[in-house]
């Protein structure tokens, strides 16, 4: 039941806030765009991401090696985090605002070109985010294995800058993965009543406590998302620069 819209008014003003409305989408375009260009360079022009005991997150797990493939080896892995992030509820906000201008900012009029195209809502494929979560968890397990190996040097246990970078990366990715909205639903969000399974007892159930914890982490899902994106970027760049001989790893002890 569409209603008559308002008569045209002179609206010279753009919404004002703490920051200009275009700052956030502009940041998204620069950060995302930069990351995508970097990823393409990494995936298309490099076939290994291993430097001694350090493995780049772009190349772990070594799926290509399992099947004997030696070209575009990162491609066999990076599609998992890509579809996980693409279908992520937080990133939907960012890319719908920054790349498709639906809308560019709150209360900012959409471009005139949108008037000739009917809006059909979000892509239904995004409903499969829950499956991409499981795939992301599998990759995450391998990244934690890489972290352990990053602390094991030929002469035994040690700590290098690379070890710490890979550790921080795994922590941030774990925070991002387990603060996911789909995981929050799986872990208990679809329940209407937690105490029902506890026969109405007043003690909070484990299921409720877990859901509550995930809900607390979920508040910062966007922060986890950006932090983990940059940590992946930094971790891969560090390993790449080591491989290229541009820098040398510093052993702390």
């Amino acid at each position: 039941m569409a209603q008559a819209s308002q008569p045209s008014m002179n609206r010279p003003i753009k919404p004002s806030g703490k920051l200009p409305y275009w700052v956030e989408p502009a940041f998204t375009i620069v950060a995302f765009g930069g990351f995508i260009i970097y990823s393409l360079w990494e995936v298309l022009f490099h076939n290994t991401g291993t430097y001694h005991n350090y493995v780049s997150p772009f190349f772990s797990p070594g799926v290509a090696g399992w099947f004997g493939f030696h070209v575009l080896t990162a491609l066999y892995v990076v599609w998992v985090p890509f579809i996980f992030r693409f279908s992520c509820y937080y990133y939907r906000k960012e890319y719908y605002r920054a790349f498709s201008f639906h809308p560019f900012g709150c209360a900012v009029a959409e471009p005139k070109s949108h008037r000739n195209r009917s809006y059909k809502g979000e892509w239904k494929i995004n409903n499969l985010h829950r499956y991409t979560w499981f795939l992301a968890v599998i990759v995450l397990i391998f990244l934690w294995k890489d972290v352990v190996e990053a602390f094991i040097f030929p002469n035994g246990f040690g700590v290098g800058i690379g070890s710490l970078i890979l550790l921080i990366n795994a922590i941030l990715l774990t925070g991002y993965t387990f603060s996911c909205h789909a995981f929050r639903n799986m872990i208990g969000g679809r329940k209407d009543c937690f105490s029902c399974t506890a026969h109405g007892q007043s003690q909070k159930t484990t299921s409720y406590k877990l859901w509550h914890r995930i809900s607390e982490a979920n508040v910062f899902h966007g922060t986890w998302a950006w932090a983990s994106l940059f940590s992946v970027w930094i971790a891969d760049l560090y390993v790449r620069l080591l491989i290229m001989g541009v820098i040398h790893d510093v052993r702390l002890f």
Binding site: A2, Q3, S5, M9, A107, H114, H129, A182
Partner: protein
């Protein structure tokens, strides 16, 4: 001469209109609604403005202040020092007069939603930590700022395809209630148009009650719709077990 604010207020109706400027003396702690009342009392007694509690509880004085949907009673004028303060009616709804928008469409939508449907007769016995989640949604004051800023309604005028964030909150409030037994998932997917929301979170940003509309209402409901309609493995299990999934809740056993 004391400090003054310049207000540029939309004056007009369905047939059109334009902004007119008014000078208002600055008083410490003044909110936009105070200034509009000053204009009404001194310069424009026929200025149309809807208000009631002046305490951010009734949700009546919604408007667009310098382009951003806000409650006039909760917006301090000193936020706009040195600027002309543009005040316009909510853009998503038809204008009645000046700052008054016709929000009756929202009440028509509300009638379509199955209200609280308890599986057992009152009194209900439930744990506080079970109802904390839905009590967040009770804070809604129906100011309709979320409806106003939602681009699906605002830019695409898709009022026949999407109920809007306010009613996603309302449906979440009932759907997640521990003793509610109604199934609103098919309505959410079809008539309610939850798929029209692309999670850009503007509704959350403008909510004066700080309800996490997207994260706590819309996305959990989207996940429930995905559980029912877009999860091939759950669908397969349902078919194999011939089990119809229902969102009906179980009532805690009574002592």
């Amino acid at each position: 001469m004391s400090e003054q604010y310049v207000l540029s207020i939309f004056r007009g109706d369905q047939n059109g209109g334009e902004e007119q400027e008014y000078q208002v003396p600055a008083i410490p702690g003044m909110v936009v609604l105070d200034a509009v009342h000053y204009v009404q009392a001194h310069d424009a007694p026929d200025l149309g403005v809807r208000w009631n509690c002046k305490a951010a509880h009734c949700g009546s004085c919604s408007a667009e202040i310098n382009g951003m949907p806000k409650l006039m009673c909760k917006t301090r004028l000193d936020e706009y020092q040195g600027q002309v303060v543009h005040i316009q009616p909510m853009r998503t709804f038809p204008i009645v007069k000046d700052l008054v928008a016709d929000v009756s469409w929202n009440y028509e939508v509300a009638k379509k939603i199955a209200t609280f449907t308890p599986v057992n007769a009152a009194p209900f016995r439930m744990q506080q930590w079970d109802v904390d989640r839905v009590q967040e949604f009770h804070h809604c004051i129906e100011c309709f700022l979320c409806q106003d800023v939602c681009h699906v309604l605002r830019d695409h005028d898709a009022k026949d395809q999407y109920f809007g964030p306010r009613f996603m909150v309302k449906m979440a409030e009932f759907e997640m209630h521990p003793v509610d037994g109604a199934d609103r998932i098919p309505q959410l997917k079809n008539e309610g148009g939850i798929g029209m929301c692309n999670v850009t979170k503007c509704c959350t940003e403008v909510c004066p009650q700080h309800i996490h509309i997207t994260d706590n209402a819309i996305i959990p409901l989207k996940e429930r719709v995905a559980d029912r309609y877009y999860d091939p493995i759950r669908n397969l299990i349902r078919r194999l077990t011939k089990k119809e999934e229902s969102s009906s809740s179980t009532v805690p056993s009574k002592a």
